[in-house]
């Protein structure tokens, strides 16, 4: 009987010791796993630009009266065929073409009174600024392969030519002229002139 009790005690003690060891081992593994899983490592760079000064190159008095603006977005795509892979560059350009009259071309006799009628002869409607693309706003859409600065310069010129074709249409020029007539005559009426005639100089 005593031998049996001792035997059970030894077995029970053994089981307890093994259980404790297993529990300790399990906790140790869990602790190490938690430590390792919270570890993270990555290669990073700071994508911000440096703080640099800017220079005002010119200050100019202008007199550009805009009557129609055409905002345009062009996706320009260039594909260079290779033996195994093709290189592709796709960029989205933004531009705003402003149509109106250049007040610095206003002649000295642009406004004349005939009785109670004011006659205004305005310069022709034109594109007010040849630089209309906001190139710094350009978005890169697809870029595969090596492309250099002259490739990007070529894309800019293609976007510009396309915008000119797309936006500088006779219809838009006519619309700008109609709006100019309405706006200028409205302003002159507000100044107290009852009869106003608006004409445009001939090209």
């Amino acid at each position: 009987m005593n031998q049996n009790v001792r035997k059970y005690l030894v077995i029970g003690g053994g089981v307890l010791i093994v259980g404790c060891l297993l529990w300790g081992l399990f906790n140790g593994i869990r602790h190490i796993y938690n430590k390792v899983s919270s570890n993270s490592i990555s290669l990073t760079t700071d994508d911000r630009i440096d703080v640099t000064p800017q220079q005002i190159r010119t200050i100019r008095a202008i007199g550009e009266w805009e009557f129609l603006s055409v905002s345009d977005e062009e996706m320009v795509d260039t594909l260079r065929h290779g033996i195994f892979f093709d290189d592709q560059l796709v960029r989205i350009y933004y531009g705003t073409l402003r149509l109106g009259i250049d007040m610095q071309q206003l002649s000295d006799s642009a406004f004349s009174s005939r009785g109670d009628t004011l006659v205004a002869t305005l310069p022709v409607i034109q594109l007010l600024d040849q630089n209309f693309i906001d190139e710094a706003r350009t978005r890169s859409f697809i870029s595969k392969g090596d492309w250099n600065t002259s490739d990007r310069e070529a894309l800019y010129h293609r976007a510009k030519a396309k915008m000119l074709r797309q936006c500088l249409t006779p219809q838009n020029i006519r619309q700008a002229q109609q709006n100019a007539e309405e706006q200028v005559s409205g302003m002159l009426h507000a100044m107290g002139f009852k009869q106003v005639i608006i004409t445009f100089e001939q090209k």
């Binding site: 490592i41 200050i59 805009e66 055409v70 890169s140 396309k162």
Partner: protein, 217 residues
């Protein structure tokens, strides 16, 4: 002998195939353009002042090893891999304008031969920007990858924003007001008003933080 003839024939075919591919396909460039959005807007804006700004956008990045190890934050520079530097010259045109869209009789006061015009507040807009591609300078260490097109666009956009943020300090609004008066007075004289009878005024409590018109991003 027959084998040799076969080999020669296959060799000739391969050569012609390669050369024809080169002349027709490899290196050839296909260009397309696609109009995404065209928006036409009627307006009445008198641009009176133009500022041309030049800025050199620079960026210098060193690769860093960042992360958490054994519960502690680590941030180590890896100069051994080398750095990348780029300088992008850009020119931006800013124009100040007076919006005549809401202009009405309420802006004009007439007493006999005297006329007083109160002009709307001037606003400033970035009308164009240009990247000087030919003068971009860059250095890329041997173990680093070259700047991607998306990275270049991002630096250019940041440079553009940096210029826009400094507009209130440039004094362009005062130039716009003075130029507007210089432009309108000769017109009013032609209409029959004498110079001492013409007064052009602006609102005095202009908040310079609200003068910028940003393009839709």
């Amino acid at each position: 002998m027959r084998k040799l003839l076969w080999l020669l024939a296959v060799g000739c075919w391969l050569l012609t195939a390669c050369s024809s591919k080169q002349s027709n396909g490899e290196g050839a460039i296909t260009d397309t353009t696609l109009v995404l959005i065209t928006q036409v807007r009627q307006c009445s804006r008198l641009y009176t002042a133009e500022y041309k700004i030049h800025k050199i956008v620079t960026h210098d990045d060193v690769l860093r090893l960042q992360g958490q190890l054994a519960g502690q934050d680590h941030d180590v520079e890896l100069p051994i891999l080398g750095d990348r530097k780029i300088a992008i010259p850009m020119d931006v045109t800013l124009k100040a304008y007076i919006d005549f869209d809401g202009f009405s009789e309420q802006n004009i006061e007439r007493q006999d031969n005297k006329i007083t015009i109160t002009l709307p507040d001037p606003k400033v807009q970035l009308t164009s920007s240009r990247i000087d591609h030919a003068n971009i300078k860059k250095y890329v260490a041997l173990l680093r990858s070259d700047f991607t097109d998306a990275e270049l666009s991002s630096y250019e956009q940041q440079g553009r924003e940096a210029i826009i943020n400094t507009i209130p300090e440039m004094g362009i609004i005062e130039s716009a007001r003075q130029n507007a008066a210089r432009l309108l007075i000769p017109m009013l004289k032609q209409m029959g008003f004498s110079e001492p009878d013409i007064t052009i005024t602006f609102r005095q409590d202009l908040n310079t933080q609200n003068i910028i018109e940003r393009s839709t991003e």
